[in-house]
Symmetry: C2
Subunit: 287 residues, 2 copies
Amino acid sequence: MPVHFNKVTIIGVGLIGGSLAKVLKAKNLASSITGAGRSRETLELALRLGVIDHMGQGPVHAVENADLVVLASPVGTFESVVREIGPHLKKGAILTDVGSVKGELVRRIEALLPAGVHFVPGHPIAGKEKFGVSEATEMLFQGAKCILTPTKNTDAAALKAVTEVWTAAGANVLVMDPELHDKIFAAVSHMPHIAAFAMMCAIAELNTGTEDYMNFSGAGFKDFTRIAASSPEIWRDICLMNRENVVQMLDRYLFSLNRFKRELVTDDGKRLEKHLKIASDARRGLG
Amino acid sequence: MPVHFNKVTIIGVGLIGGSLAKVLKAKNLASSITGAGRSRETLELALRLGVIDHMGQGPVHAVENADLVVLASPVGTFESVVREIGPHLKKGAILTDVGSVKGELVRRIEALLPAGVHFVPGHPIAGKEKFGVSEATEMLFQGAKCILTPTKNTDAAALKAVTEVWTAAGANVLVMDPELHDKIFAAVSHMPHIAAFAMMCAIAELNTGTEDYMNFSGAGFKDFTRIAASSPEIWRDICLMNRENVVQMLDRYLFSLNRFKRELVTDDGKRLEKHLKIASDARRGLG
């Protein structure tokens, strides 16, 4: 029998939370969906759009009797939210999340939960340049990877249920160690975001003629810096929560940049080309 | 009367040179087009594709009697090519280029030319991820900027003729000081390319599990590093020829990255968010 929840509560009804709500409805995985979050306006919009069926008076009220609770607010809020809702989760409830950081955060959330509540940490690799519930779509996860990072404490039945939800969403579910997850995403996502943000800072902080300079940015520059348009608040939290790995990758990046700088300063065309080629070959291999 | 050339010679019949040749033909701006370049195969392909009408036996032979000569090979080759063809250019011939570096290079080329040959330095801001003559299209420059960087020595009639060619190609022609050009493109193109190449090096040189890591790179990472797939040889030359400006911009970028690193290491969420917001606002303003 396919998984079905009587009541699902989504905390943070934005692009990801809203899209997951739409999947749950489209695939008939939930009888009713309750939304919670900081912004009443967002929740009212989600209600109007039919993304959720009810809005809770605060998270504690919203999770009452919920069979599945999804943390889809910025990762920086997870701990305080779990601290607040933890004692009010019903016995046997499944708690899952969609945060971009796992590792340490998973351990802290586990420590905050009462016995009988089953936490299944998750991270769907999906997103768009635009965010907010009005951008939500049940197609968002189609063909995307969704990483689940169970620990030794994770309940097998709960893991199976959450896997079914993401599979129904069209995602390819992968299971991974939470610490490895954070190392990988520091390398392929978190540090590159910092690099793009830093690029925009460097250009924005040019004291003279900045506007003129920007007029000459081509498609390459726009591609390169696109991810710098992401939410400062969300990325502050992600980078701080994974800061050991992010700093380690930043150091590798700084090493590589300084090597290029040295090759330029010393006019070392041979080494310069060698390292440009390593990069170019690697990027071409990526498709 | 619209500009018309009896014989045009294009040195380096790749994406840019080939596309310009196609424009010249499509707009009937040239009676015949001769190609020259290092690779006989490329020239034969260009001939077969009808992009050029003739192929020269080396550049000296190719420029004989040409009214317009276009340098479209990698910028690193310009000086030696001009040294070779200079004495053989016909009196009154126009020499132009499509190089991404101006400044110093423009002065050096001017110094190599005999009296009576008119140099008009140019830089069309166009390109694609793919290169080579088989990718050439007369639409490449449609709506693109083309920067011309005349000096006090530039002949006014020659400047006008080259302007007409690029206008016919559909480009918006802008006139700019060669030194300013190099500062601007160090900021919005050359240094960002180094940054993308360095990112790919940092990831490619991760000693363990590199392939696994790459499997998790999303659309953001691919956008961010797309320009790192560019030709190592071409970018070696561009960066070395504009190295003072590139190193200056690299230093600004390193400053910005190190500031983010310090904010992460000291867990300074307030400053971190402030700088992320400067970047995010600047990027959103870019569209």
